[in-house]
Amino acid sequence: MIVLEKIKEKAKELLAENKVEVVLGFTRGTLPGKCTPYFARKVDEVENFVWEEGCNHNLANYLTKLSQKAAIIVKGCDSRSIINLIKENQITREQVYIIGGTCPSTGECPDCQHQEAVIADYKISEGEGAIEDSFQDVLEFEKLSPEARKEYFYKEASKCIRCYACRNACPACYCKECFVEENLPSWVGKTTGIGDNIIFHLTRAMHVAGRCIDCGACVRACPMGVNLSLLNRKMLKDVQEMFKNVSGLSLDTELALNEYKQDDSQKFLIGGE
Protein backbone atom coordinates (compact mmCIF):
# COMPACT_ATOMS: atom_id res chain seq x y z
CA MET A 1 0.00 0.00 0.00
CA ILE A 2 2.80 2.36 0.92
CA VAL A 3 4.21 1.95 -2.61
CA LEU A 4 0.95 3.07 -4.13
CA GLU A 5 0.85 6.12 -1.84
CA LYS A 6 4.32 7.12 -2.96
CA ILE A 7 3.36 6.64 -6.58
CA LYS A 8 0.30 8.82 -6.18
CA GLU A 9 2.18 11.49 -4.30
CA LYS A 10 4.77 11.73 -7.05
CA ALA A 11 2.18 11.67 -9.82
CA LYS A 12 0.22 14.48 -8.18
CA GLU A 13 3.33 16.54 -7.76
CA LEU A 14 4.34 16.11 -11.41
CA LEU A 15 0.90 17.09 -12.68
CA ALA A 16 0.43 19.95 -10.23
CA GLU A 17 3.78 21.46 -11.12
CA ASN A 18 3.13 20.97 -14.83
CA LYS A 19 6.23 18.87 -15.21
CA VAL A 20 4.23 16.38 -17.24
CA GLU A 21 0.85 16.49 -18.97
CA VAL A 22 -0.12 12.90 -18.42
CA VAL A 23 0.79 10.07 -16.06
CA LEU A 24 0.48 6.51 -17.32
CA GLY A 25 -0.41 3.81 -14.87
CA PHE A 26 -3.15 1.34 -14.08
CA THR A 27 -6.60 1.50 -12.64
CA ARG A 28 -8.88 -1.33 -11.62
CA GLY A 29 -10.53 -3.17 -14.50
CA THR A 30 -14.08 -4.36 -14.96
CA LEU A 31 -13.44 -8.05 -14.38
CA PRO A 32 -12.07 -9.63 -11.20
CA GLY A 33 -8.28 -9.62 -11.10
CA LYS A 34 -7.93 -7.37 -14.12
CA CYS A 35 -6.30 -3.99 -14.16
CA THR A 36 -6.44 -1.65 -17.09
CA PRO A 37 -4.09 1.06 -18.40
CA TYR A 38 -5.04 4.49 -17.14
CA PHE A 39 -4.01 7.95 -18.29
CA ALA A 40 -4.25 10.56 -15.53
CA ARG A 41 -4.24 14.15 -16.74
CA LYS A 42 -5.67 15.87 -13.68
CA VAL A 43 -4.43 15.75 -10.13
CA ASP A 44 -7.64 14.26 -8.80
CA GLU A 45 -7.54 11.50 -11.41
CA VAL A 46 -4.39 10.21 -9.74
CA GLU A 47 -6.58 8.71 -7.02
CA ASN A 48 -7.77 6.13 -9.54
CA PHE A 49 -4.35 4.53 -9.82
CA VAL A 50 -3.78 1.06 -8.43
CA TRP A 51 -0.58 -0.95 -8.08
CA GLU A 52 -1.50 -4.57 -7.57
CA GLU A 53 -1.71 -8.04 -9.05
CA GLY A 54 -3.11 -7.60 -12.55
CA CYS A 55 -1.03 -4.52 -13.42
CA ASN A 56 0.77 -6.62 -15.98
CA HIS A 57 0.39 -4.96 -19.34
CA ASN A 58 3.65 -3.46 -20.65
CA LEU A 59 2.91 0.26 -20.51
CA ALA A 60 6.05 1.26 -22.42
CA ASN A 61 4.01 0.31 -25.47
CA TYR A 62 2.07 3.57 -25.25
CA LEU A 63 5.07 5.90 -25.15
CA THR A 64 5.69 5.77 -28.89
CA LYS A 65 2.15 6.99 -29.51
CA LEU A 66 2.03 9.80 -26.97
CA SER A 67 2.90 13.27 -28.15
CA GLN A 68 2.62 14.82 -24.70
CA LYS A 69 5.31 14.93 -22.06
CA ALA A 70 4.51 11.93 -19.94
CA ALA A 71 5.34 10.24 -16.71
CA ILE A 72 5.04 6.49 -16.58
CA ILE A 73 4.72 4.14 -13.66
CA VAL A 74 6.87 1.13 -14.42
CA LYS A 75 7.90 -2.26 -13.14
CA GLY A 76 11.05 -4.04 -14.25
CA CYS A 77 9.97 -5.10 -17.73
CA ASP A 78 8.38 -1.79 -18.72
CA SER A 79 11.54 0.00 -17.67
CA ARG A 80 13.69 -2.30 -19.78
CA SER A 81 11.46 -1.70 -22.79
CA ILE A 82 11.88 2.04 -22.25
CA ILE A 83 15.65 1.66 -22.38
CA ASN A 84 15.35 -0.15 -25.68
CA LEU A 85 12.97 2.43 -27.10
CA ILE A 86 15.44 5.17 -26.20
CA LYS A 87 18.35 3.21 -27.67
CA GLU A 88 16.39 2.75 -30.89
CA ASN A 89 15.49 6.43 -31.08
CA GLN A 90 11.77 5.86 -30.74
CA ILE A 91 11.49 8.13 -27.74
CA THR A 92 13.89 10.48 -25.99
CA ARG A 93 15.02 10.22 -22.39
CA GLU A 94 13.85 13.78 -21.74
CA GLN A 95 10.34 13.11 -23.01
CA VAL A 96 9.51 10.69 -20.25
CA TYR A 97 9.61 10.82 -16.47
CA ILE A 98 9.96 7.35 -15.02
CA ILE A 99 8.41 6.39 -11.70
CA GLY A 100 9.97 3.03 -10.97
CA GLY A 101 8.46 0.39 -8.77
CA THR A 102 8.78 -3.32 -8.20
CA CYS A 103 6.38 -5.56 -10.07
CA PRO A 104 3.25 -6.07 -7.95
CA SER A 105 2.31 -9.30 -9.70
CA THR A 106 3.66 -12.33 -7.94
CA GLY A 107 4.49 -15.67 -9.44
CA GLU A 108 3.01 -14.87 -12.81
CA CYS A 109 6.31 -14.80 -14.70
CA PRO A 110 8.47 -17.60 -13.34
CA ASP A 111 11.58 -16.54 -15.26
CA CYS A 112 11.49 -12.84 -14.44
CA GLN A 113 14.91 -11.56 -13.40
CA HIS A 114 14.18 -7.88 -13.06
CA GLN A 115 11.06 -7.21 -11.08
CA GLU A 116 12.44 -3.87 -10.01
CA ALA A 117 12.68 -0.94 -12.43
CA VAL A 118 16.20 -0.71 -13.85
CA ILE A 119 15.92 2.94 -14.81
CA ALA A 120 13.93 5.62 -12.99
CA ASP A 121 13.77 9.30 -12.19
CA TYR A 122 12.01 8.45 -8.97
CA LYS A 123 12.48 5.00 -7.62
CA ILE A 124 10.41 3.24 -5.03
CA SER A 125 12.68 0.37 -4.22
CA GLU A 126 11.74 -2.71 -2.35
CA GLY A 127 15.25 -4.04 -2.54
CA GLU A 128 14.64 -7.05 -4.78
CA GLY A 129 17.79 -7.37 -6.81
CA ALA A 130 18.21 -8.98 -10.20
CA ILE A 131 18.24 -12.76 -10.45
CA GLU A 132 20.32 -14.73 -12.94
CA ASP A 133 18.29 -16.41 -15.67
CA SER A 134 19.14 -20.09 -15.81
CA PHE A 135 17.17 -20.71 -19.04
CA GLN A 136 16.21 -24.08 -17.64
CA ASP A 137 13.13 -24.27 -19.88
CA VAL A 138 15.15 -23.54 -23.01
CA LEU A 139 17.86 -26.03 -22.05
CA GLU A 140 15.23 -28.72 -21.58
CA PHE A 141 13.63 -27.82 -24.89
CA GLU A 142 16.94 -27.87 -26.76
CA LYS A 143 17.33 -31.51 -25.75
CA LEU A 144 14.23 -32.53 -27.70
CA SER A 145 14.50 -33.92 -31.20
CA PRO A 146 13.99 -31.49 -34.10
CA GLU A 147 10.67 -33.23 -34.83
CA ALA A 148 9.45 -32.80 -31.28
CA ARG A 149 10.43 -29.12 -31.25
CA LYS A 150 8.73 -28.55 -34.57
CA GLU A 151 5.65 -30.30 -33.30
CA TYR A 152 5.51 -28.03 -30.29
CA PHE A 153 5.78 -24.83 -32.31
CA TYR A 154 3.30 -26.03 -34.91
CA LYS A 155 0.82 -26.92 -32.22
CA GLU A 156 1.06 -23.50 -30.63
CA ALA A 157 1.01 -21.61 -33.94
CA SER A 158 -1.98 -23.58 -35.20
CA LYS A 159 -4.17 -21.99 -32.52
CA CYS A 160 -3.39 -18.50 -33.80
CA ILE A 161 -6.21 -16.47 -35.35
CA ARG A 162 -3.87 -13.68 -36.50
CA CYS A 163 -5.49 -10.97 -34.46
CA TYR A 164 -2.03 -9.47 -33.88
CA ALA A 165 -2.73 -8.70 -30.24
CA CYS A 166 0.70 -10.18 -29.43
CA ARG A 167 2.42 -7.83 -31.84
CA ASN A 168 0.36 -4.81 -30.81
CA ALA A 169 0.94 -5.41 -27.12
CA CYS A 170 4.68 -5.65 -27.66
CA PRO A 171 6.71 -2.51 -27.07
CA ALA A 172 9.41 -3.79 -29.40
CA CYS A 173 6.90 -4.10 -32.27
CA TYR A 174 6.56 -0.45 -33.09
CA CYS A 175 7.01 -0.57 -36.89
CA LYS A 176 4.68 1.87 -38.61
CA GLU A 177 4.01 -0.76 -41.21
CA CYS A 178 4.47 -4.36 -40.15
CA PHE A 179 5.65 -6.92 -42.71
CA VAL A 180 2.33 -8.74 -42.36
CA GLU A 181 0.48 -5.73 -43.70
CA GLU A 182 2.65 -5.13 -46.72
CA ASN A 183 1.20 -6.52 -49.91
CA LEU A 184 3.58 -5.45 -52.66
CA PRO A 185 5.17 -7.90 -52.25
CA SER A 186 3.12 -9.85 -49.80
CA TRP A 187 5.68 -11.41 -47.45
CA VAL A 188 3.24 -13.67 -45.72
CA GLY A 189 -0.23 -14.93 -46.64
CA LYS A 190 -3.21 -13.68 -44.70
CA THR A 191 -4.69 -17.07 -43.93
CA THR A 192 -4.50 -18.92 -40.65
CA GLY A 193 -3.05 -21.97 -42.36
CA ILE A 194 -0.10 -23.37 -40.46
CA GLY A 195 2.37 -22.19 -43.12
CA ASP A 196 1.29 -18.56 -42.88
CA ASN A 197 1.02 -18.69 -39.10
CA ILE A 198 4.50 -20.13 -38.65
CA ILE A 199 6.01 -17.55 -41.00
CA PHE A 200 4.33 -14.78 -39.06
CA HIS A 201 5.59 -16.02 -35.71
CA LEU A 202 9.11 -16.94 -36.79
CA THR A 203 9.59 -13.63 -38.55
CA ARG A 204 8.32 -11.73 -35.54
CA ALA A 205 10.65 -13.69 -33.30
CA MET A 206 13.59 -12.80 -35.54
CA HIS A 207 12.56 -9.16 -35.62
CA VAL A 208 12.53 -8.91 -31.85
CA ALA A 209 15.69 -10.96 -31.36
CA GLY A 210 18.10 -9.06 -29.16
CA ARG A 211 15.35 -6.56 -28.38
CA CYS A 212 12.71 -8.69 -26.68
CA ILE A 213 13.04 -8.35 -22.92
CA ASP A 214 10.80 -11.32 -22.11
CA CYS A 215 8.04 -9.28 -20.52
CA GLY A 216 5.41 -11.81 -21.59
CA ALA A 217 2.98 -9.14 -22.77
CA CYS A 218 2.55 -11.00 -26.06
CA VAL A 219 1.57 -14.23 -24.35
CA ARG A 220 -0.83 -12.52 -21.97
CA ALA A 221 -2.49 -10.57 -24.77
CA CYS A 222 -3.23 -13.66 -26.81
CA PRO A 223 -6.90 -14.66 -26.65
CA MET A 224 -6.17 -18.15 -27.98
CA GLY A 225 -3.55 -19.22 -25.49
CA VAL A 226 -0.71 -19.31 -28.02
CA ASN A 227 2.51 -19.50 -26.03
CA LEU A 228 5.67 -19.00 -28.00
CA SER A 229 7.73 -17.52 -25.19
CA LEU A 230 10.13 -20.43 -25.58
CA LEU A 231 10.99 -19.08 -29.00
CA ASN A 232 11.66 -15.62 -27.61
CA ARG A 233 13.65 -17.03 -24.74
CA LYS A 234 15.75 -19.16 -27.06
CA MET A 235 16.63 -15.94 -28.93
CA LEU A 236 17.43 -14.26 -25.64
CA LYS A 237 19.73 -17.07 -24.64
CA ASP A 238 21.49 -17.13 -28.01
CA VAL A 239 22.06 -13.39 -28.01
CA GLN A 240 23.35 -13.57 -24.46
CA GLU A 241 25.75 -16.38 -25.30
CA MET A 242 26.92 -15.24 -28.71
CA PHE A 243 27.06 -11.49 -28.20
CA LYS A 244 27.42 -11.26 -24.42
CA ASN A 245 24.48 -8.93 -24.52
CA VAL A 246 21.28 -8.58 -22.54
CA SER A 247 19.16 -5.76 -23.84
CA GLY A 248 17.25 -3.24 -21.80
CA LEU A 249 19.57 -3.04 -18.83
CA SER A 250 21.58 0.09 -19.48
CA LEU A 251 21.56 3.13 -21.73
CA ASP A 252 25.30 2.66 -22.24
CA THR A 253 25.20 -0.60 -24.20
CA GLU A 254 24.10 -0.95 -27.79
CA LEU A 255 21.54 -3.56 -28.75
CA ALA A 256 23.17 -6.65 -30.23
CA LEU A 257 21.79 -6.13 -33.71
CA ASN A 258 22.45 -2.41 -33.75
CA GLU A 259 26.19 -2.71 -34.06
CA TYR A 260 28.63 -4.73 -36.07
CA LYS A 261 31.95 -6.04 -34.96
CA GLN A 262 34.49 -7.83 -37.10
CA ASP A 263 34.62 -10.73 -34.69
CA ASP A 264 30.84 -11.07 -34.17
CA SER A 265 29.74 -14.62 -33.66
CA GLN A 266 28.40 -16.16 -36.86
CA LYS A 267 26.95 -19.17 -35.14
CA PHE A 268 23.39 -18.17 -35.88
CA LEU A 269 24.06 -18.67 -39.60
CA ILE A 270 23.70 -22.10 -41.10
CA GLY A 271 27.25 -23.42 -41.27
CA GLY A 272 28.53 -20.24 -39.52
CA GLU A 273 31.29 -20.22 -36.92
Binding site: T36, Y164, A165, T191
Partner: protein, 337 residues
Protein backbone atom coordinates in the same frame (compact mmCIF):
# COMPACT_ATOMS: atom_id res chain seq x y z
CA UNK B 1 -44.90 -23.77 -28.34
CA UNK B 2 -44.78 -27.31 -27.11
CA UNK B 3 -41.83 -28.40 -25.02
CA UNK B 4 -40.84 -32.04 -24.56
CA UNK B 5 -39.13 -33.64 -21.62
CA UNK B 6 -36.12 -35.81 -22.36
CA UNK B 7 -33.76 -37.66 -20.08
CA UNK B 8 -30.06 -37.42 -20.74
CA UNK B 9 -30.26 -40.88 -22.25
CA UNK B 10 -33.10 -39.87 -24.58
CA UNK B 11 -31.09 -36.87 -25.70
CA UNK B 12 -28.03 -38.97 -26.46
CA UNK B 13 -30.09 -41.46 -28.44
CA UNK B 14 -31.68 -38.70 -30.48
CA UNK B 15 -28.34 -36.99 -31.16
CA UNK B 16 -26.79 -40.34 -32.12
CA UNK B 17 -29.58 -40.80 -34.58
CA UNK B 18 -28.95 -37.38 -36.06
CA UNK B 19 -25.29 -38.28 -36.29
CA UNK B 20 -26.12 -41.01 -38.81
CA UNK B 21 -27.22 -38.35 -41.24
CA UNK B 22 -25.38 -35.24 -40.12
CA UNK B 23 -21.92 -34.24 -38.95
CA UNK B 24 -22.74 -33.28 -35.37
CA UNK B 25 -20.63 -30.46 -33.93
CA UNK B 26 -20.68 -29.78 -30.21
CA UNK B 27 -18.65 -27.82 -27.65
CA UNK B 28 -15.45 -29.82 -27.18
CA UNK B 29 -13.19 -29.09 -24.23
CA UNK B 30 -9.47 -28.81 -24.65
CA UNK B 31 -7.34 -27.38 -21.84
CA UNK B 32 -10.22 -25.69 -20.01
CA UNK B 33 -11.48 -24.07 -23.19
CA UNK B 34 -14.49 -25.05 -25.29
CA UNK B 35 -14.70 -24.77 -29.06
CA UNK B 36 -17.02 -26.39 -31.57
CA UNK B 37 -15.67 -29.67 -32.86
CA UNK B 38 -16.68 -33.15 -33.93
CA UNK B 39 -19.03 -34.64 -31.34
CA UNK B 40 -17.68 -37.86 -29.88
CA UNK B 41 -21.14 -39.42 -29.75
CA UNK B 42 -21.23 -39.75 -25.98
CA UNK B 43 -20.29 -36.70 -23.91
CA UNK B 44 -22.44 -33.67 -23.27
CA UNK B 45 -21.03 -30.33 -22.13
CA UNK B 46 -20.79 -30.32 -18.33
CA UNK B 47 -21.32 -27.54 -15.83
CA UNK B 48 -18.02 -25.91 -16.76
CA UNK B 49 -19.38 -25.10 -20.19
CA UNK B 50 -20.41 -21.48 -20.41
CA UNK B 51 -19.63 -20.67 -23.99
CA UNK B 52 -17.08 -21.44 -26.70
CA UNK B 53 -13.95 -19.33 -26.94
CA UNK B 54 -14.45 -18.77 -30.65
CA UNK B 55 -17.90 -17.75 -31.80
CA UNK B 56 -19.69 -20.05 -34.25
CA UNK B 57 -19.42 -17.60 -37.15
CA UNK B 58 -16.44 -19.37 -38.69
CA UNK B 59 -18.60 -22.46 -39.24
CA UNK B 60 -20.54 -20.39 -41.78
CA UNK B 61 -18.14 -17.65 -42.70
CA UNK B 62 -14.67 -19.20 -42.33
CA UNK B 63 -11.70 -17.00 -41.50
CA UNK B 64 -10.30 -17.68 -44.94
CA UNK B 65 -12.14 -19.14 -47.87
CA UNK B 66 -11.27 -19.64 -51.53
CA UNK B 67 -13.93 -18.04 -53.69
CA UNK B 68 -12.55 -18.87 -57.11
CA UNK B 69 -9.45 -20.12 -58.86
CA UNK B 70 -7.95 -18.83 -62.06
CA UNK B 71 -5.23 -19.85 -64.44
CA UNK B 72 -3.52 -17.86 -67.12
CA UNK B 73 -2.87 -19.72 -70.34
CA UNK B 74 -0.68 -17.95 -72.86
CA UNK B 75 -2.62 -16.79 -75.89
CA UNK B 76 -5.96 -17.84 -74.43
CA UNK B 77 -8.57 -16.41 -72.15
CA UNK B 78 -7.85 -17.16 -68.50
CA UNK B 79 -9.66 -20.15 -67.05
CA UNK B 80 -11.81 -19.17 -64.07
CA UNK B 81 -13.46 -21.70 -61.86
CA UNK B 82 -15.73 -20.91 -58.94
CA UNK B 83 -15.09 -22.89 -55.76
CA UNK B 84 -17.49 -25.75 -55.08
CA UNK B 85 -20.31 -25.01 -52.69
CA UNK B 86 -20.05 -26.75 -49.32
CA UNK B 87 -22.42 -29.71 -49.16
CA UNK B 88 -21.87 -31.24 -45.75
CA UNK B 89 -25.03 -31.60 -43.67
CA UNK B 90 -24.36 -30.52 -40.12
CA UNK B 91 -25.95 -30.17 -36.72
CA UNK B 92 -24.54 -27.62 -34.31
CA UNK B 93 -25.48 -28.74 -30.86
CA UNK B 94 -25.01 -26.69 -27.70
CA UNK B 95 -24.74 -23.26 -29.25
CA UNK B 96 -25.79 -20.54 -26.80
CA UNK B 97 -28.89 -18.43 -27.56
CA UNK B 98 -26.82 -15.26 -27.96
CA UNK B 99 -24.70 -16.96 -30.61
CA UNK B 100 -27.74 -18.45 -32.32
CA UNK B 101 -29.13 -14.95 -32.50
CA UNK B 102 -25.86 -13.73 -33.99
CA UNK B 103 -26.49 -16.05 -36.93
CA UNK B 104 -29.78 -14.31 -37.62
CA UNK B 105 -27.82 -11.03 -37.69
CA UNK B 106 -25.23 -12.43 -40.07
CA UNK B 107 -28.13 -13.61 -42.25
CA UNK B 108 -29.13 -10.00 -42.74
CA UNK B 109 -25.73 -9.30 -44.24
CA UNK B 110 -25.02 -12.47 -46.19
CA UNK B 111 -28.59 -13.40 -47.11
CA UNK B 112 -30.03 -9.91 -47.43
CA UNK B 113 -32.13 -8.44 -50.17
CA UNK B 114 -29.18 -6.90 -51.95
CA UNK B 115 -26.66 -9.71 -51.78
CA UNK B 116 -26.76 -13.40 -51.14
CA UNK B 117 -23.49 -15.10 -50.46
CA UNK B 118 -23.72 -18.58 -52.00
CA UNK B 119 -21.13 -20.15 -49.67
CA UNK B 120 -22.73 -18.80 -46.52
CA UNK B 121 -26.16 -19.67 -47.85
CA UNK B 122 -25.22 -23.28 -48.58
CA UNK B 123 -23.84 -23.73 -45.08
CA UNK B 124 -26.85 -22.15 -43.44
CA UNK B 125 -29.26 -24.33 -45.40
CA UNK B 126 -27.32 -27.48 -44.61
CA UNK B 127 -27.04 -26.82 -40.89
CA UNK B 128 -29.48 -27.48 -38.08
CA UNK B 129 -29.02 -25.28 -35.00
CA UNK B 130 -29.80 -26.85 -31.63
CA UNK B 131 -29.19 -24.25 -28.96
CA UNK B 132 -28.69 -24.83 -25.26
CA UNK B 133 -29.93 -22.14 -22.90
CA UNK B 134 -27.35 -20.95 -20.33
CA UNK B 135 -27.87 -21.93 -16.73
CA UNK B 136 -25.91 -19.03 -15.41
CA UNK B 137 -24.42 -16.07 -17.23
CA UNK B 138 -20.70 -15.35 -17.21
CA UNK B 139 -19.34 -12.31 -15.48
CA UNK B 140 -18.66 -10.72 -18.85
CA UNK B 141 -22.04 -11.51 -20.44
CA UNK B 142 -24.63 -8.82 -20.86
CA UNK B 143 -27.30 -10.39 -22.99
CA UNK B 144 -30.76 -9.51 -21.83
CA UNK B 145 -32.61 -12.23 -23.70
CA UNK B 146 -31.23 -15.56 -22.53
CA UNK B 147 -34.39 -17.29 -23.77
CA UNK B 148 -34.20 -15.85 -27.26
CA UNK B 149 -35.11 -18.47 -29.86
CA UNK B 150 -33.92 -16.37 -32.77
CA UNK B 151 -31.61 -18.26 -35.06
CA UNK B 152 -32.34 -21.61 -33.39
CA UNK B 153 -34.12 -24.52 -35.05
CA UNK B 154 -34.51 -26.29 -31.73
CA UNK B 155 -33.98 -24.89 -28.23
CA UNK B 156 -32.88 -26.99 -25.26
CA UNK B 157 -33.16 -26.14 -21.58
CA UNK B 158 -31.04 -27.97 -19.06
CA UNK B 159 -32.91 -28.91 -15.87
CA UNK B 160 -30.69 -30.82 -13.48
CA UNK B 161 -30.62 -34.25 -15.13
CA UNK B 162 -33.31 -33.64 -17.73
CA UNK B 163 -33.71 -31.57 -20.83
CA UNK B 164 -36.64 -29.62 -22.16
CA UNK B 165 -36.71 -29.61 -25.93
CA UNK B 166 -38.61 -27.02 -27.91
CA UNK B 167 -38.63 -27.31 -31.71
CA UNK B 168 -38.89 -23.83 -33.22
CA UNK B 169 -38.49 -23.83 -36.99
CA UNK B 170 -40.03 -26.17 -39.55
CA UNK B 171 -36.56 -27.62 -40.05
CA UNK B 172 -36.34 -28.22 -36.32
CA UNK B 173 -39.77 -29.82 -36.11
CA UNK B 174 -38.91 -32.20 -38.93
CA UNK B 175 -35.75 -33.36 -37.18
CA UNK B 176 -37.31 -33.95 -33.79
CA UNK B 177 -39.46 -37.07 -33.32
CA UNK B 178 -41.90 -35.33 -30.98
CA UNK B 179 -44.34 -38.24 -31.04
CA UNK B 180 -41.81 -40.35 -29.13
CA UNK B 181 -41.67 -38.04 -26.10
CA UNK B 182 -44.00 -36.60 -23.49
CA UNK B 183 -44.97 -32.99 -23.58
CA UNK B 184 -43.77 -31.23 -20.45
CA UNK B 185 -46.44 -29.89 -18.09
CA UNK B 186 -46.37 -26.39 -16.66
CA UNK B 187 -44.77 -27.50 -13.35
CA UNK B 188 -41.72 -28.50 -15.22
CA UNK B 189 -41.77 -25.58 -17.60
CA UNK B 190 -41.92 -23.32 -14.56
CA UNK B 191 -38.47 -24.55 -13.55
CA UNK B 192 -37.02 -22.51 -16.39
CA UNK B 193 -37.58 -19.50 -14.18
CA UNK B 194 -34.82 -20.73 -11.89
CA UNK B 195 -32.27 -19.99 -14.57
CA UNK B 196 -30.20 -16.99 -13.53
CA UNK B 197 -30.18 -13.89 -15.69
CA UNK B 198 -27.75 -10.99 -15.51
CA UNK B 199 -29.23 -7.91 -13.98
CA UNK B 200 -28.16 -5.55 -16.71
CA UNK B 201 -30.76 -3.16 -17.90
CA UNK B 202 -30.45 -3.07 -21.62
CA UNK B 203 -27.14 -1.40 -22.37
CA UNK B 204 -27.68 -1.11 -26.09
CA UNK B 205 -31.06 0.55 -26.24
CA UNK B 206 -32.80 3.00 -28.54
CA UNK B 207 -31.62 6.07 -26.66
CA UNK B 208 -28.04 4.92 -27.26
CA UNK B 209 -28.61 4.94 -31.02
CA UNK B 210 -30.03 8.44 -30.74
CA UNK B 211 -27.09 9.58 -28.70
CA UNK B 212 -24.63 8.17 -31.20
CA UNK B 213 -26.30 10.30 -33.84
CA UNK B 214 -25.03 13.38 -32.08
CA UNK B 215 -21.51 12.51 -31.07
CA UNK B 216 -19.65 11.61 -34.26
CA UNK B 217 -17.26 14.52 -33.75
CA UNK B 218 -17.13 14.35 -29.97
CA UNK B 219 -13.74 14.26 -28.20
CA UNK B 220 -15.05 11.28 -26.21
CA UNK B 221 -13.77 8.84 -28.84
CA UNK B 222 -10.20 9.92 -28.35
CA UNK B 223 -10.52 9.46 -24.64
CA UNK B 224 -12.28 6.11 -24.91
CA UNK B 225 -9.75 4.61 -27.30
CA UNK B 226 -6.58 5.81 -25.62
CA UNK B 227 -5.65 2.44 -24.16
CA UNK B 228 -6.79 0.39 -27.18
CA UNK B 229 -3.93 -1.34 -28.96
CA UNK B 230 -5.88 -1.80 -32.19
CA UNK B 231 -5.72 -5.55 -32.36
CA UNK B 232 -8.24 -7.90 -33.90
CA UNK B 233 -9.37 -9.63 -30.71
CA UNK B 234 -12.70 -7.89 -30.23
CA UNK B 235 -13.76 -8.18 -33.86
CA UNK B 236 -12.40 -11.66 -34.60
CA UNK B 237 -14.00 -13.09 -31.47
CA UNK B 238 -17.25 -11.22 -31.99
CA UNK B 239 -20.01 -13.48 -33.34
CA UNK B 240 -21.53 -10.63 -35.36
CA UNK B 241 -18.45 -8.91 -36.83
CA UNK B 242 -18.32 -9.85 -40.47
CA UNK B 243 -15.89 -7.60 -42.33
CA UNK B 244 -13.58 -9.22 -44.83
CA UNK B 245 -10.88 -8.53 -47.35
CA UNK B 246 -10.40 -10.34 -50.66
CA UNK B 247 -6.84 -11.02 -51.77
CA UNK B 248 -5.08 -13.12 -54.38
CA UNK B 249 -2.66 -15.81 -53.39
CA UNK B 250 0.29 -17.11 -55.36
CA UNK B 251 -1.56 -20.22 -56.46
CA UNK B 252 -4.09 -18.21 -58.44
CA UNK B 253 -6.97 -18.10 -55.97
CA UNK B 254 -9.15 -15.30 -54.79
CA UNK B 255 -9.30 -15.71 -51.04
CA UNK B 256 -11.67 -14.04 -48.66
CA UNK B 257 -10.17 -13.36 -45.22
CA UNK B 258 -11.63 -11.85 -42.09
CA UNK B 259 -10.61 -8.27 -41.63
CA UNK B 260 -11.09 -5.86 -38.77
CA UNK B 261 -11.98 -2.19 -38.59
CA UNK B 262 -9.51 -1.97 -35.71
CA UNK B 263 -6.56 -2.59 -38.06
CA UNK B 264 -4.84 0.39 -39.66
CA UNK B 265 -4.77 -1.38 -43.02
CA UNK B 266 -8.54 -1.80 -43.09
CA UNK B 267 -9.19 1.57 -44.71
CA UNK B 268 -5.78 2.28 -46.16
CA UNK B 269 -6.07 3.26 -49.79
CA UNK B 270 -3.70 2.55 -52.65
CA UNK B 271 -2.50 6.15 -52.60
CA UNK B 272 -1.36 5.68 -49.01
CA UNK B 273 -4.14 7.91 -47.70
CA UNK B 274 -6.01 6.52 -44.73
CA UNK B 275 -9.42 8.01 -43.97
CA UNK B 276 -9.34 6.41 -40.53
CA UNK B 277 -5.79 7.33 -39.61
CA UNK B 278 -5.85 6.65 -35.87
CA UNK B 279 -7.39 4.52 -33.18
CA UNK B 280 -9.92 7.24 -32.50
CA UNK B 281 -11.68 6.78 -35.84
CA UNK B 282 -11.35 3.01 -35.60
CA UNK B 283 -12.96 2.58 -32.20
CA UNK B 284 -15.68 4.99 -33.27
CA UNK B 285 -16.30 2.88 -36.35
CA UNK B 286 -16.58 -0.30 -34.31
CA UNK B 287 -19.09 1.23 -31.92
CA UNK B 288 -21.00 3.10 -34.62
CA UNK B 289 -21.27 0.07 -36.87
CA UNK B 290 -22.66 -2.11 -34.12
CA UNK B 291 -24.93 0.36 -32.40
CA UNK B 292 -25.86 2.90 -35.07
CA UNK B 293 -25.29 1.89 -38.70
CA UNK B 294 -26.45 -1.69 -38.29
CA UNK B 295 -29.64 -0.67 -36.42
CA UNK B 296 -30.25 2.08 -38.97
CA UNK B 297 -30.08 -0.43 -41.76
CA UNK B 298 -31.55 -3.55 -40.20
CA UNK B 299 -33.43 -2.34 -37.15
CA UNK B 300 -31.35 -4.24 -34.59
CA UNK B 301 -28.01 -3.71 -32.86
CA UNK B 302 -25.11 -5.85 -34.03
CA UNK B 303 -24.17 -7.02 -30.55
CA UNK B 304 -25.69 -9.98 -28.76
CA UNK B 305 -23.96 -9.36 -25.44
CA UNK B 306 -21.89 -12.54 -25.49
CA UNK B 307 -19.08 -10.79 -23.63
CA UNK B 308 -16.21 -12.31 -25.61
CA UNK B 309 -14.72 -8.92 -26.39
CA UNK B 310 -15.07 -7.96 -22.73
CA UNK B 311 -13.30 -11.03 -21.53
CA UNK B 312 -10.52 -11.20 -24.07
CA UNK B 313 -9.55 -7.60 -24.73
CA UNK B 314 -5.86 -7.50 -23.78
CA UNK B 315 -6.23 -4.11 -22.10
CA UNK B 316 -9.70 -4.60 -20.61
CA UNK B 317 -11.34 -1.99 -22.82
CA UNK B 318 -14.84 -3.02 -21.86
CA UNK B 319 -17.56 -2.33 -24.45
CA UNK B 320 -20.14 -2.16 -21.65
CA UNK B 321 -18.19 0.63 -20.05
CA UNK B 322 -17.81 2.38 -23.40
CA UNK B 323 -21.57 2.29 -23.99
CA UNK B 324 -22.38 3.43 -20.47
CA UNK B 325 -19.92 6.27 -20.78
CA UNK B 326 -21.47 7.38 -24.05
CA UNK B 327 -24.94 7.20 -22.56
CA UNK B 328 -23.93 9.19 -19.54
CA UNK B 329 -22.19 11.86 -21.50
CA UNK B 330 -18.64 11.14 -20.52
CA UNK B 331 -19.21 10.33 -16.87
CA UNK B 332 -17.32 7.20 -15.88
CA UNK B 333 -19.27 4.36 -14.39
CA UNK B 334 -18.14 1.41 -12.39
CA UNK B 335 -19.28 -1.62 -14.29
CA UNK B 336 -18.33 -4.38 -11.88
CA UNK B 337 -20.87 -6.97 -11.05
Amino acid sequence: MAKYLLTKKDLLIWLKKLQQEYEVLAPVKEKKVYNFGHWDGKSLPDKSYQNTLKPPKDLFFPQHEILLKYKKVKGQRPIIKAADLPEEKRVIFGIRPCDAKSLSLLDKVFLGEEYQDPFYQARRLNTLIISLVCREPKESCFCTQPFSVEGSDIVLFELNDKYLVEPISEKGKNCFPSASYCEADFHIIDKIKEIKINTYEEIASADLTEKLDLIFDSPIWKELQEKCINCGVCSFLCPTCHCFDITDNQQGSKVRNWDSCMFSGFTKQASGHNPRPSGTERLRQRVMHKFKYFPDKYGVVACVGCGRCVEKCPVNLDIRQVLLQIKNGGEKLECRM
